[in-house]
Symmetry: C2
């Protein structure tokens, strides 16, 4: 952009770009990562499933568009939508990613606690939570967006306190551990997880109210809420998958995707 508008550039001269947002809205439900999908009511991909999203309006930013769409699709109140964590993932710009016209899409990820039955409001009549591991082929390049979103969230759990976004305002350490285990697809040692979480300054803080509550049977657990910290130092690293010998690979693997704010 620094070189300015080309000489004689006319905004209406060539087919314009449309700009959209696509949302990967995640929640942890029944020990599985779930993502919110909507059924398409028109071509292309009519009857197929896609990530919720929509056009960025002429006078709003992509962030505002994402929150507006999120409110429409989930039926959450404006306050709830304003306060939750929206993470811009990356922007998808392949010229043919939408067969109708040139569309670049800014992708976002959002993390929600498992709500009683969130969606409802929007124009997309049929929105549904899907197990993020078993979604069929999605419309457009949404499979790739979804994969990128999962990778990003998983990476970000390592060095941020983001996991609490999946939890209700008050939660047990068991529930927090469940978030990590679900997103990473691994089992963690409970004593070590507790030690790590409790020693991280500002990650969680105890709630002194009735120190009890549980899902089924077993000893009631103490409640916690998110602390003031957002970064996690030192990070809570994912266990190394030791299936491969971890030797030097021949070709370069793709560069890892770290988190972004």
């Amino acid at each position: 952009m620094s070189t300015g508008v080309p000489e004689g550039y006319d905004p209406h001269a060539f087919p314009p770009f449309a700009v959209t947002v696509d949302l990967a809205v995640f929640t942890v439900r029944d020990a599985a990562l779930h993502v919110l999908l909507v059924e398409r009511g028109q071509e292309p991909f009519r009857g197929g499933w896609a990530l919720p999203g929509g056009f960025v309006l002429p006078r709003e930013s992509a962030d505002e568009a994402a929150r507006r769409e999120l409110a429409e699709e989930t039926g959450l109140g404006p306050d709830a939508v304003d306060s939750l964590h929206l993470e811009q993932l990356r922007t998808y710009t392949e010229p043919d990613r939408d067969p109708r016209m040139r569309v670049v899409s800014v992708a976002y990820a959002a993390l929600l606690p498992d709500l009683p039955e969130p969606r409802g409001g929007g124009d997309a009549a049929s929105a549904k939570w899907w197990d993020a591991g078993v979604t069929g082929p999605l419309a457009f390049d949404h499979d790739r967006i979804l994969t990128d979103a999962r990778d990003r969230i998983g990476a970000k759990l390592e060095y941020t306190c983001l996991a609490t976004e999946f939890c209700p305002p008050e939660f047990t350490l068991g529930e927090l551990q469940q978030v990590y285990e679900t997103v990473w697809g691994v089992e963690l040692d409970r004593p070590n997880f507790r030690r790590k979480v409790l020693s991280a300054p500002g990650f969680v803080e105890p709630v002194d109210g009735p120190p009890r509550r549980t899902g089924g049977r077993g000893k009631p657990a103490a409640l916690h809420r998110a602390g003031g910290a957002t970064a996690l130092h030192p990070p809570l690293l994912r266990p190394q998958p030791t299936d491969a010998p971890l030797s030097r690979p021949e070709g370069r693997t793709p560069w890892p995707s770290p988190p972004e704010g």
Copy 2:
């Protein structure tokens, strides 16, 4: 985008979005992080400095546009530009970020070794390397983009092998350490740095050719080249800035920006 084009949507109906790329091109020179800036030849911000960049053409992706612009601004050959690491940072979409029209910009970071005198080719007659720490106010929102880019690169050095992108094809461990020290703005212990780098599988590998070379005086150093790995496990964590007591802050700090591929 999943909800489709609005009823009666006409691509030419409302003022279209222009899509640009902006590039934060970094190199390490004289123990300081440098960034490539171009002087603007027209309004707005005429005579001011800005990140290089330009419009995404109707039939190219943002990645292709970024590589094309990079080749134009630096004078690097197409092969060199094709092979280097380009990292999409994020997309800036504030409605008024460009006073002329609605422009969304996809920002990229690129890492180059310190070249003999890289720039030259492009339409921007005056491109210059600036110390990234002392750039004045830049055009548009480029100060923010530059800050975000520095943060991202710094974070990504921790858990990727990206630092070798700042180095020539063959380099000494001292030069590699200089990259970390420059980007992070800290001093590292040489023996510990060596141990860490050499024990990370696939980070660097020795070059058996003439095992010598140095910048000034002192013992000649063995040469290395980048290994096949891209991820760094376990990560090479930045030393904790112990200036603040690292207590729990009152309000939430912004979410950290991890790397993205």
